[in-house]
């Protein structure tokens, strides 16, 4: 602990915890965990894609960029709107199956195939 941290006063008190990390909703706990993992992976992929968008925009404008340039770049209003739309398309492409209206009863399938 640094000297500064040692002198840092705490402004917190004890709290009453909620064990949210251990909630399981799906019947199969592995599947429940898999959904959470896929969400995390999606967030990581979008984080990488967005960094690419920033980097490419800067390269187009400046030719040579530093890490500082990328970290502090402020997208224009047009870029913000366009990249938000791309994000929404990204989310929809990955998660569209979960947006299907699934009836309780699967439709019946034909019982006959070969004529015999």
């Amino acid at each position: 602990m640094s000297e500064a941290e040692a002198g840092q006063k705490s402004h917190t008190v004890d709290f009453i915890p909620k064990d949210a990390e251990n909630f399981v909703f799906l019947e199969n706990q592995v599947l429940d965990s898999l959904v959470s993992s896929v969400l995390e992976l999606s967030a990581e992929v979008w984080t990488l894609k967005r960094r690419s968008l920033f980097t490419e925009a800067l390269l187009d404008a400046k030719g040579v960029v530093t890490k500082h340039d990328i970290e502090t770049y402020s997208p224009s209003a047009e870029e913000t709107a366009e990249w938000a739309a791309r994000r929404d398309q990204f989310v929809k492409r990955i998660y569209a199956p979960f947006g299907r209206k699934a009836p309780l009863e699967k439709p019946a399938t034909p019982d006959q195939f070969l004529d015999r």
Partner: protein, 373 residues
């Protein structure tokens, strides 16, 4: 949180977009940008799918001749894997928002703690903290499953602000919702507006908006959580808004009787127990001057209570850290306000799509007489 957990790394200053300071690093910003998009999709596309599915579940049960009291409906909804998946998505996104924000602010913790310390000693406005304040248990929960809740985590204000930004789908990044509501503040009929007190002010978004809408008034923000108030004051200093923040209970403000023109309680009452609600209402009545207004904004209890709606609101209460919403939805707010002596009218809150109501409660001479009778 152990203060040994905070880092001393100094980030580049990423500036602000209008009123909103950008998150301290690009990856953190992008991760939360993903969550904004994810929530927008959940609120629209996934919600349509789950509503459809819930109707199927209910229709099948009714076709079997079943009544659907709440326990049975809950069991059916919990067993349905499509509906269970929507719950998983929702709670996972909450956890992702909170953890990414908390981890990110802690990575540069020394910087952010120092910012709040320096702001605490400067203006405009003021910050009064009370380390000896007895914080009641009802206020110690991890509301919205935010780690540490409002009282147990140094970066509670930071996490709340950016976590709720993605909940608002980016539509409150410039405090638009709060500014719009403050512009339609329920004011006393005689127009006298010298002192406004915002109780349960949290990170002060509504408090700042009130001062900006009513610059001639003294505006105070009271809250039980020191971390929230430290953030609120630091933000007010950054934005140059003159507000006095104080760590006090809404039910024990310490303010003089009859000294306040308007008391605001914005989305406070669904986060307090019913005994506390009664005490808070009585305290608001005490500190208001005759003709003063108690503006309570909170969830509308008059809604279409389908089986699935009741289940989802229960799920919000049970899984999403809203320990007092069961009290709230079973509480007679109008009755409590009237019993305290207020004359009450209700109207829809601005920019809330009918989900929030304003209980505009006036401390009138009629009310005083009824109370005395």
């Amino acid at each position: 949180m152990a203060l040994t957990d905070v880092s001393t790394h100094s980030p580049p200053d990423r500036g602000s977009i209008g009123r909103l300071r950008r998150l301290p690093d690009l990856d953190m910003e992008s991760y939360n940008d993903f969550l904004t998009g994810m929530r927008a999709w959940m609120f629209k596309d996934m919600s349509a799918a789950t509503q459809f599915r819930a109707q199927e579940v209910v229709a099948a049960a009714q076709a079997r001749g079943e009544n659907l009291p709440f326990p049975r409906a809950k069991a059916l909804f919990e067993a349905d894997q499509t509906l269970a998946a929507s719950m998983r998505f929702w709670i996972s996104c909450q956890l992702m928002a909170h953890h990414s924000l908390l981890d990110g602010f802690r990575r540069q913790g020394d910087v952010f703690l120092k910012e709040m310390d320096e702001a605490a000693a400067s203006g405009p406005g003021s910050l009064e903290l009370n380390p000896d304040l007895h914080i009641p248990d009802y206020a110690r929960h991890e509301v919205h499953i935010q780690p540490g809740g409002y009282v147990g985590e140094e970066f509670a204000g930071h996490v709340y602000h950016y976590g709720t930004n993605s909940f608002y789908l980016g539509r409150n990044d410039q405090d638009e919702v709060y500014l719009a509501r403050a512009a339609q503040l329920s004011k006393p009929a005689d127009g006298k507006l010298e002192c406004i007190v915002d109780i349960g002010c949290g990170i002060g978004q509504y408090t700042l908006a009130l001062k900006e809408a009513c610059p001639q008034a003294r505006v105070m923000g009271l809250d039980v959580g020191a971390p929230m108030l430290r953030y609120a004051h630091a933000r007010a200093v950054h934005l140059g808004v003159d507000v006095d923040f104080a760590q006090r209970l809404a039910e024990d403000t310490g303010l003089e009787a009859g000294s306040v023109d308007v008391v605001c309680a914005h989305i406070l009452f669904h986060e307090v127990s019913t005994p506390a609600a009664k005490d808070i209402i009585d305290e608001a009545y005490r500190i208001l001057r005759p003709g003063g207004v108690f503006e309570v904004t909170d969830f509308s209890v008059q809604r279409e209570w389908s089986s699935y709606t009741e289940y989802r609101v229960w799920a919000d209460h049970y899984y999403n850290g809203e320990p007092w919403t069961r009290d709230y939805y079973n509480r007679d707010m109008l009755g409590l306000l009237a019993a305290a002596g207020f004359e009450v009218q209700t109207e829809d809150a601005p920019l809330a799509m009918g989900f929030l109501k304003k209980f505009i409660s006036v401390k009138s001479a009629v009310g005083e007489a009824l109370k005395a009778a």
